[in-house]
């Protein structure tokens, strides 16, 4: 019997991410063609150049970047891809810019499921479509097992700032009203309660959403009354208000009774001993507006889905500059401080 040596063709169909997917060779091409391009393709990406060549409309350019490392990657109400698109869109929009183009950089852990990667890419494409932005350039790297946690995504974006609009966290004026677009803590508690180690379940879903539509409507209707906007992400509304107060060297006073919190979120926060004001949001907006225009802005926001629950939560005061103070339901006052690093559940 003769033995015929067989040199097998390399496996090209994988179910998980291989080191070779990031090596720039054939498998990298397969990844592009099978996973990324079918969902993300557009006039810029289709050229497969190393850069996107863009003609920007006139106006000042806003430029922002953020990296997403959320765990779990899929959470109730969204996933890391959707978050990565909306997050950068929001960072541009709160500066008064119309977001136009995004880049997307992926760091994939060897062994990460390609089906899950495709789900993530698909929802990035959908999120971009909803927000009216294009992902025009991208990059993928693969690192060895254990060298990252499944998938990290960086998105950068550019947008054009509206003529005559000047939004900055330094612009707060005494007597401005502070408007919050809806309930606090949804995203953070959706993540926390879906992590392992908690023996209760919840139906809390993330509020992950692009805010540029709502912001654009506000600026259309009330173009010059807005002094600052922020999306209260990490550190929650408490961190955002503290940043605004300290950047503008003013005090902010808010009223406990006005802060909207969903019952499930409130319940989970009570159980874990966490202040909902310290919990992250991914689809909420804080607006500082001249007091005389606040009702008009509120009306505009409430007419929109994302701003349905908008409320005035407080105002800018000349007392205690740099500090945020809450008037409690009992009439006493307390400081709303920045959260100190990691949220630690209480022990008894």
């Amino acid at each position: 019997m003769t033995i015929v040596p067989i040199c097998p063709a390399p496996v090209m169909q994988h179910e998980t991410v291989q080191m070779a997917h990031g090596a720039g060779g054939r498998l990298s091409q397969t990844l592009m063609q099978r996973v990324f391009m079918p969902h993300l393709h557009n006039a810029f990406l289709d050229l497969l150049d190393d850069q996107a060549k863009l003609d920007l409309p006139p106006g000042r350019t806003a430029f922002s970047t953020d990296t997403y490392v959320v765990s779990p990657v899929f959470f109730p109400g969204g996933n890391i891809g959707e978050l990565a698109v909306n997050g950068t869109v929001n960072d541009l929009a709160v500066g008064g810019a119309k977001p136009l183009y995004l880049s997307a950089g992926f760091v994939l852990e060897e062994g990460f499921s390609l089906a899950e990667l495709e789900d993530i890419v698909k929802s990035m494409a959908e999120a971009a479509r909803r927000a009216g932005v294009m992902i025009v350039t991208g990059d993928t790297k693969v690192v060895g097992k254990g060298q990252c946690d499944r998938i990290f995504i960086n998105t950068s974006g550019i947008g054009i700032i509206r003529e005559g609009v000047n939004l900055s966290c330094r612009n707060l004026k005494v007597s401005d009203s502070i408007i919050l677009s809806g309930t606090v803590g949804d995203h953070g508690m959706a993540i926390m309660t879906s992590r392992e180690g908690l023996s209760f379940q919840s139906r809390i879903t993330s509020d992950c959403a692009a805010l540029n539509g709502m912001i654009s409507t506000i600026l259309d209707e009330v173009p010059f009354a807005i002094h600052a906007m922020r999306d209260p992400t990490r550190g929650g509304v408490a961190a955002t208000l503290n940043e605004l107060a300290s950047s503008s060297s003013v005090g902010i006073e808010i009223h406990e009774t006005t802060i909207p919190v969903k019952p499930d979120v409130r319940g989970a926060c009570e159980l874990l001993g966490i202040d909902p004001l310290h919990v992250a949001n991914e689809g909420k907006l804080v607006v500082a507006v001249a007091a005389g225009d606040a009702e008009r802005v509120l009306e505009v926001m409430r007419a929109l889905d994302l701003g349905r629950d908008a409320v005035i939560i407080g105002s800018v005061v000349d007392d205690h500059p740099g500090m945020v103070v809450m008037r409690t339901v009992y009439g006493s006052r307390r400081i709303i401080d920045l959260p100190l690093g990691e949220q630690l559940p209480r022990i008894c």
């Binding site: 409690t328 559940p345 008894c348």
Partner: protein, 367 residues
Amino acid sequence: MLTPMKYIDEYRNPELARKLLNEIRRKAAHHWTIMEICGGQTHSIIRNGIDQLLPDTIELVHGPGCPVCVTPLESIERALAIAAREEVIFTSFGDMLRVPGNYRDLFMIRSAGGDVRIVFSPLDALQIARDNPAKEVVFFAVGFETTAPANAMAVWQAAREGIENFSVLVSQVMVPPAMRAILSSPGNRVQGFLAAGHVCAVMGYEEYEPVAREFQVPIVPTGFEPVELLAGILKTVELLEEGKAEVVNCYGRVVSRAGNPVAQETIHNVFEVTDRQWRGIGLIPGSGLGLRESYARFDAEKRFNVTNIFAEESPFCMSGSVLQGKLKPDGCPAFAKECTPQHPLGATMVSSEGACAAYYKYHLDTP
């Protein structure tokens, strides 16, 4: 905008709170100093600004009932030494991770590669031990009578199932001996107590009756929500004004006179009374719980041979006086200067239940 939440909102009702405050104002003819035992109560009082709303005649001083605060530096140093070991998965309630030892905390051990995990229950730690048979899983068993039953249960289950890669670093303390120590101390100012509601849920309040008699102080088991705290303060003021040194339960929805006998039995099966060091206060005889001889093999101090680790407190930290109600946090010269939550000198500035942290976090006149 808050959606009503059963079992919470009725105890936060501003109208009821106002009525109770008026009653306290009406009843308080003399100046009284009342100590709330539990750090959870301190936190709620300061967070809701109850101290600002009380009449000047009622002074609240904050008690030693913050487990994180009173866990001795020695235990922290021993925890750090164990957590740094390669074969160990060190598990703890979240609060303990930021408590500084001499120069580092458990977070720093974790960032240096130690496997330190936050758990919500000691039974979760036991599960980690089942899942990782090749590792030594250690749980930091701190706390008062509230955490003791679950901590005891974890050890009891480990013994029953023969889970030999599980052990506990015990620093359990008890309230009544601490109350006696405070009342016997020369500079004591405390005239009445709000007893810690959750401790009483486990132990009942019968054991406070001799303390009330012996030291002639009223003791009132009290809850944690604003209305409950105000009701507890009102009852204590009434008893003080009437000169009655009695124990009166103001946390009836949770506490009974006998407490929870099953929980007590679990504690006594696994633990025995022992002397215990309290951080900032010192040794209080018979104030702690330690593993019984029959469970000694689950003692992490012995298993990892760390009983020879000792530690010294910062000479600037006055948390001992704060924990005994002799000093208000903002009366300490280091408060908000050398000592902040970012750079705590003592545990009372670290824990969410520590009096110094509560003052720093919520009080408007913090420098």
